[in-house]
């Protein structure tokens, strides 16, 4: 039975058509996932359904029916009953979706009053329990700022459930969360959908999440749906060239240190008019007709529909340009380029008028790392575990509390620009908008050879005269890399260099990093929470939890044979493309605050294997092999 049917939906912002003729259906109790890169119109589609478009945008055409009700024909007052009643919605950023000056309980009560008529306190507790908030009576009296991101997202879900919706729209519900928390929230959503027979429109850019959650999948590109398929068929045989390329661009173990297939170019501007297929400028399989005639819908298999001119769409194998293997011998063990010893960074917590330190945030609490020339050490861990602080402390941007950083055997004094550089996460914050690209690249060395550097990172030398706002995220990241390379460093500290980028662009940057390492013999400290990128690039992996390294070893050792329960949980929590849930070791709860680390092993409150001694003292290092060690009492 069809619950929601969207027909030829169009959204206009001025002359641009960010959503241009989207049609799909969602059956009762079905989870439909909408995937696509940023800016392809996923969120606007959802907002248009709810008639919640931003000021500048308007619905330019189409029809939406919710179980026979024409939503676009309803008066606004009736529509308000539908929102939060028959359709619930949760957003990406739980922090900004809750009112900071009301307790979460009263916010739920308000939602209940609106949609169920009365706010029975027992219902609030029930809802809180349903979304897995422990100790619901007490939690209802807390304010949003007292809760972690995962908890806030649970509150949002509880609020969406208050109206007993038939359809839940979830826009990137876990993008702002850590992997272990993401796994918890996804499990919760899957369970709730099943228990309540609730349909779900899940919007995401993460194919792993799709594989885990969806019954059917819709792929969006530049304001249009290009493929609709049942999950199994989609993951087994993606039909549209764009979908195939997306899969090929994903880094994973199979692609370890081999070039990823990339999609050249970037998503077209929504203001552009298209005569034919919107993907034509980036499509390797394009036919002459593609540029002039809009492609028709074809149905290579029942229920699997794709919009492409290629007759044989279903037969194309995944992956456009085949990944090229790079021959790689394990390099001889070299002198470490960089070594840290018992590195500690503690931030004071200041209170009162006199601003006296009343406690310390142990952001980094005794970290030993070593990186050899030409190698990549990946530092993984959840948000707030101290990864960025380690990077800044090594560089000298952050004063260390104690411990040493040695460069080529000598203790580093102050900054060492010629030896180490950093590439930051946010491609928009890392370039001064007031300076031209030329000035930015020359920042560290006024006599730098800008054209050569730009060519080295895959940009045209003519771009030097332009300003940052004219570049896309991926291009900005390349510029930031060129700026770092200008001083010819030997070690590049990359702090989440791809986490703000789309999959296809992420592949380009990862390829670039790999290239540069091979050509220039750079060493990388690769800070990330993206396990797939680690699998792709790292030689060694260090896993960090609450300021300390809990496991370290070569990439094969740690990723294939994790010994620390936290590492195991982290790896298990990453949504896999196969969608298999399998035997999972899920950790419960949130990471504790580094201001008040738990006694003994920091992981014990969340550890499924914790024993009595784990509460008492921090475990010593257990050696697994010459390169692999772990800090746990039960390293087997």
């Amino acid at each position: 039975m069809t619950l929601l049917s969207v027909r030829d939906l169009r959204v206009a912002i001025g002359a641009a058509r960010p959503v241009d003729g989207v049609s799909f259906e969602i059956g009762a109790g079905e989870t439909f996932a909408l995937v696509g890169e940023s800016g392809c119109g996923k969120s606007l589609t959802a907002l248009a359904l709810m008639r919640l478009l931003p000021e500048a945008a308007r619905i330019a055409g189409g029809a939406v029916q919710l179980a026979g009700t024409d939503l676009f024909a309803l008066p606004e007052a009736r529509m308000r009953e539908v929102r939060g009643g028959r359709i619930g919605m949760i957003f990406q950023e739980p922090a900004t979706s809750l009112n900071p000056v009301m307790t979460v309980g009263s916010q739920i009560a308000e939602a209940l009053r609106l949609h169920a008529g009365s706010a029975d306190p027992r219902r609030i507790v029930e809802l809180f329990a349903a979304v897995g908030i422990p100790d619901p009576e007490r939690r209802a009296d807390e304010y949003p700022f007292q809760m972690s991101g995962g908890m806030k997202q649970r509150v949002m879900i509880a609020m969406a459930l208050a109206g007993e919706p038939e359809l839940l729209i979830a826009d990137e519900p876990t993008t702002a969360l850590d992997v272990t928390i993401q796994a918890q929230v996804l499990d919760l959503l899957a369970r709730l959908a099943k228990e309540r027979g609730m349909a779900m429109l899940l919007i995401t850019h993460d194919l792993g999440v799709v594989a885990r959650m969806a019954d059917r999948v819709g792929v969006m590109y530049a304001g249009e749906l290009v493929e609709i398929a049942p999950r199994a068929a989609f993951f087994a045989r993606p039909a549209h060239p764009y979908a195939q390329r997306l899969f090929a661009a994903l880094p994973d173990t199979a692609s370890r240190r081999t070039r990823l297939a990339t999609i050249p170019g970037s998503v077209p501007n929504p203001a552009e008019r298209h005569a034919g297929c919107r993907f034509v400028s980036r499509c390797a399989a394009a036919l002459p007709v593609c540029g002039t005639v809009p492609p028709p819908w074809r149905e290579p298999a029942p229920g699997h529909r794709v919009r492409c001119h290629l007759e044989a769409v279903a037969k194309i194998g995944a992956g456009g340009t085949a990944p090229t293997a790079t021959a790689e011998q394990p390099p001889p063990p070299a002198e470490p380029l960089l070594e840290t010893h018992a590195l500690k960074v503690h931030f004071p917590i200041r209170r009162g008028v006199l601003q006296r330190a009343v406690g310390w945030v142990r952001a980094v609490d005794g970290v030993d790392l070593s990186i050899a020339a030409g190698r990549t050490l990946a530092l993984v861990g959840e948000s707030g575990c101290g990864k960025t602080t380690v990077g800044k402390a090594i560089l000298g941007l952050q004063p260390v509390t104690s411990g040493t950083v040695k460069l080529l055997g000598r203790v580093r004094e102050g900054l060492a620009p010629g030896e180490m550089q950093m590439v930051f996460q946010d491609p928009f914050g890392s370039l001064n908008p007031r300076l031209s690209i030329d000035a930015i690249v020359r920042e560290g060395r006024p006599d730098a050879d800008v054209p050569a550097l730009l060519r080295q990172v895959g940009l045209a030398p003519e771009m030097a005269a332009r300003y940052p706002h004219e570049f896309s995220g991926g291009q900005r990241q390349r510029i930031a890399i060129a700026r770092a390379l200008a001083v010819a460093p030997r070690l590049l500290i990359c702090d989440e260099p791809t986490s703000a980028l789309d999959v296809s662009v992420q592949a380009q940057i990862l390829n670039l990093l790999l290239d540069l390492q091979e050509r220039l013999g750079l060493a990388y400290l690769f800070i990330t929470h993206n396990i797939a990128a680690v699998e792709f690039l790292a030689h060694e992996v260090a896993v960090m939890y609450l300021g300390r390294i809990v496991e370290q070893g070569t990439a094969e050792e740690v990723l294939e044979n994790p010994r620390h329960p936290y590492t195991q949980a982290l790896l298990a929590a990453v949504p896999k493309l196969t969608g298999t849930v399998g035997e999972r070791l899920l950790v419960s709860g949130d990471p504790p605050s580094p201001a008040h680390p738990p006694s003994g092993c920091h992981f014990h409150p969340r550890c499924p294997r914790a024993a009595a001694r784990c509460h008492a003292a921090y475990p010593a290092t257990a050696v697994i092999s010459a390169t692999h060690w772990v800090r746990c009492y039960f390293p087997d």
Binding site: L395, L397, L415, P417, F424, G429, E443, G444
Partner: protein, 443 residues
Amino acid sequence: MKFVLLWSDALFFLLVVTAIVGGLWARRIEHLRVSWRRVGQSRVAMAAATLLVAFVAVALLDSLHYRERLPGEGENYAVEVRSALDALLAGLRTRTEKTYSAPLATHSFAKETIEGEGRDFPRLKYGGAHLGDELGRHEMDIALRAVQGLALGLIAWLALWLAGAPLRRRATHLAWEAVFATLFALCLVSGVAAALAGGYHVLGTDKVGQDVLYLTLKSIRTGLLIGTLTTLIMLPAALFLGILAGYAGGWVDDVIQYLYTTLNSIPGVLLIAAAVLMMQVVIDTHPDWFATAAERADARLIALCAILGITSWTGLCRLLRGETLKLRELEYVQAARALGVSSLRILTRHILPNVMHIVMIAIVMDFSGLVLAEAVLSYVGIGVDPNTISFGTMINTARMELAREPMVWWSLASAFVFMFALVLAANLFADAVRDAFDPRGAR
């Protein structure tokens, strides 16, 4: 004739030159050019700017000071310091009546005992004197002159329109229609005023018979000076301390924060009153410092600007500190530090250009506030020297005039209308500048 360069003149010229040079420089900097172009595309902003330029032109004329050579042998100069505007408006300045007269009146406002005729309204010495005994022609004459003035204004406007043609062709993206519409209104009004001023006191006269139009025109310079010099004086301190506090952090930040919080917690008027009174004492006990009364009044004006500046830098300083604090943590600043770029260079390359929009916005937003502050301070008697013509002193004297029966309304009304035009233009312009420079509003 001997030129006199008062301190305020020098500062004012400096300011105008800086603004022009800054404008030329901004044309070469991409993001500034873009922002200013956005200002130029706004009709309201261009109309306001036209009015402001007219005001600045009057103030500039009023800043060219000289002393007349006295007739006779030797190098003797008059004690009064006059400006180019005074020379231009010599007619208005010299034709003083005995006391109040209403706008365009032929007779005095108050009855006097006239020999042989008893108590009556005496004829004015200058106002409508050309009518002789044909007082019946009064209204006719005014209408005639007004029409002449309109024609004059129209001709002047047409001349400007033709002269502006190449400009309009070259910079087609600017809102020229707003400029010329404002100029049109301005030309007509000044044309009529000029034509009428030949025979009458257009805005009446004040207690000692001075022409009110002359007084209001003279007030413009004082208002503009206070509005701009004050910002100029406070800017370096606010900029330096604000950025320093934000960038250096630690105890430097603590000291600067302490300083401005303390200053802020003292009521501003008290502080200003105390400082002004002290300054007055100093000036009064050292009459030998100043060659002329004009110089003394000028010193007092500058001192007032300084005092207003010193008491008003805290707001901007706080804004700048906050912004710098944010910028310091931005990744491009971190990247620059990692590249070993010196702190000074980081400040000038990364911080300063990125807080300039705040400075820009603060300057234009503060301007109207300061013009109003001058009026208020002079009204309560702690503003400019009583001999300096300003909106504040005009309003101050109007206090008595409003209590008279019948009321003398024209000084207050003229001061009000001129000040309103100035402040409104400044506010509208400030709004446009803020919209154009605020990065959040950037498209």
